[in-house]
Amino acid sequence: MIRRSRLAGLLHLWPIVALVLLWDVWVLANGYTSIVAPRPWSVINDVVGNPDAYAIDFLWTLAISVGGLLLGMLLGTIAAVLISLWAPMSAVLTPAALIVRSVPVTVMIPIIARVFGYEVYTVLVVTVITSFFPAFVLGLSGMASAPASSRDLFVVFGSSRPASLWRLRLPYAVPNLLLALRITAPLAVLSAMLAEFLIGQQGLGYLFIVARSYMEIDRAWGTALVATMLSVFAFLAARFVERRISPRFT
């Protein structure tokens, strides 16, 4: 039974295989030289054949995105808690969150880079800001989803405010915060890479510019491939965590 569903699961990966084949056919059909667009096999070869060329930058981007993701989500959750404890805070935090939500990181990164300087922590700041908003908004609505009857019950049992927060509203926010994690995980990788591309001295985004400027086309596309895998795995890991933990809170 289990083996069969695994097999079906693999079969459903057909679009990805099709995509790689399509890429190859497309390169051949257009007669692109390897400078314009390399064939998938030579890109995969470059990645598999030179893992140490990618390893450090891969780990760097991984560390920055995970660190920024966790820090941003923590700050977003704290902001949500502050609003829920002190309503007037929402006057400032709600429009600020709206700006962070709708304004693309590509617009924020250059300003952040200018203000904070071309430093490593600027990349971190960018990922923190990206990760802040989903946790903030979803955390807030999660805390508000605690049913009125439960809130009344806590009052009647003489619960203190911190106890209501800890035992009622935060647990109710957990599924939403995990949803925020799933939404944010690939975004954090994207913004870390964008920031590295523009200002970094390390990381996959930086590796990408270097490869491009030396016309190492396989390396440049390989970086894109590695970045995609990092982002997809970040997403899958977040989804795994969500599926594992969320059911316990609903």
């Binding site: 990805i16 006057a91 400032v92 429009p95 693309p104 617009v107 250059p110 203000v115 964008l194």
Partner: protein
């Protein structure tokens, strides 16, 4: 309805506070030379030359983003309808969408710049970003009709296409517009990413070159313009969404 006016008032006060804080940071210079007072930025934008530069870039970016939005929505709709009518494709397409959704748009840029060219890359990156978001919204929306409703339609012997038209599409609209609220800023994100990789014009290009050349006022003016464009796109989508929710739920 009743909550509306205080919330509006609240948010207006909040926006005013944010603007004031930004202005004060600029005036006092505590964030350094790279953070000008907002009034200086607005004053700079009032100059004809600066205005013309920013406006040309804005037009280019808005056009790329707009094309990207339209193309992305069309392709996502086609894919979602395919998944709806040919159920065998469904799990594969779903998996593809969730994986593609996680692909960093920056990884697509090299692929495009050498193939579709510098001019079209922004629109294509925007279309890809929008497509992923909208495919998820379309499939979730089409699947959203309740089992009871579906049963009623099949008991009346409704054809697949009739069910689609009279049930699934109306039911899907709120979710689709939810997706649109996400997709609208994504279109601008995609367009500006595409521009970073060497498009001839656009706000993305302008912002990066202003950053590299220490043109602080131009940087802020272009960034504020892009922010307002994005905010407007988002708010319009949200407006449409709440209209759809009122009409179809």
């Amino acid at each position: 309805m009743r909550l509306r006016s205080p919330r509006w008032l609240n948010n207006t006060i909040g926006v005013l506070i944010l603007i004031t804080v930004a202005e004060l940071i600029g005036r006092t210079g505590i964030a350094g030379r790279s953070w000008p007072p907002l009034t200086d930025v607005v004053g700079y934008l009032a100059e004809p030359v600066a205005q013309a530069t920013v406006l040309r870039a804005l037009t280019a970016t808005a056009a790329s983003a707009g094309w990207g939005l339209v193309l992305g929505i069309v392709f996502a709709a086609i894919a979602a309808l395919l998944a709806n009518f040919i159920p065998v494709l469904r799990p594969g397409l779903d998996r593809l969408a969730s994986v593609l959704n996680a692909v960093p748009l920056i990884a697509l840029a090299p692929l495009l710049i050498t193939t579709v060219g510098r001019e079209s890359t922004p629109a294509v990156v925007a279309a890809l970003g929008v497509g992923f978001v909208m495919f998820v919204a379309f499939t979730a929306g089409l699947a959203g009709a309740s089992a009871t409703h579906q049963d009623v339609f099949s008991v009346f012997g409704s054809a697949r296409s009739t069910t689609l038209l009279r049930l699934q599409i109306p039911v899907s609209l709120p979710t689709v517009f939810d997706g649109l609220a996400l997709a609208a800023p994504t279109a601008i994100l995609g367009a500006t990413i595409g521009e970073w990789f060497g498009a001839p014009r656009g706000l993305g290009v302008l912002i990066v070159s202003a950053m590299q050349n220490y043109q602080v006022l131009l940087l802020w003016a272009a960034a504020l313009t892009a922010a307002l464009l994005s905010l407007a796109a988002y708010l319009i989508a949200v407006r449409l969404q709440s209209g759809a929710v009122r009409r179809f739920t």
